[in-house]
Subunit: 110 residues, 2 copies
Amino acid sequence: MANSLDTIFAALADPTRRAILSMLLEDDMAVTDVAEPFEISLAAISKHLMILTRAGLIAQEKRGRVKWCKLEPDAMRNASVWMQGFGQFEPVNLDAFERFLETELDSTPE
Amino acid sequence: MANSLDTIFAALADPTRRAILSMLLEDDMAVTDVAEPFEISLAAISKHLMILTRAGLIAQEKRGRVKWCKLEPDAMRNASVWMQGFGQFEPVNLDAFERFLETELDSTPE
DNA sequence: TAGACATTCAACCATTTGGTTGACGATCCC
DNA sequence: GGGATCGTCAACCAAATGGTTGAATGTCTA
């Protein structure tokens, strides 16, 4: 049920949720801290996080009264792989390939 | 306006629309032929095609009374590249990387 | 024990979405 | 010209979505 392309793509379709994912790229965060930069209510953020969780894009773990959110990249990779099936029509697709390599080399120093 | 991640991911979130894209992977098709395998009305299919077009995922061209639909892979690649930024958290991300290379090498014989 | 804090729940609202049906505008062909 | 075919438009409908507010739950701490 999680990881279905339906729920993954639907989750990614919202800019607030994509922004949350980008924030989690930096570090795991508590719900309140996730909500801080946005102008919508905490309850709304809570719903967004629920949708991301059901899609399998993040995982939430409660420690004490704080619920931590962390990225769960597997779901996104499933969707990414599905999409790559459509790249084969381009002459070469070098563009995406290069950027892929760049982020790969660029961001794994440790 | 087309090619925004919002509209692209929203378009991909519907199983009917993903099925249409897969069909177009085989060949360009007329609207009526796109609709044939589905059990919903032609008008509904027409709406789906409009959404895919606005997202930039397909292009439609009218020749005579027939409107041809063809895949437009650039939009999907934009989304794919965005998503690949999230792969870096995996230990290595070799899985997606390999498949990426495979489809790349596998499908560009000409 | 009493607040204060972190988060969700419940009820509600407006808008969007995916579907329907029927009428309509083009276009092809006899 | 007239009928069949291709596709969209318009009006409508039910359900889902993204937001709100206020109350409720659970946990930490003074």
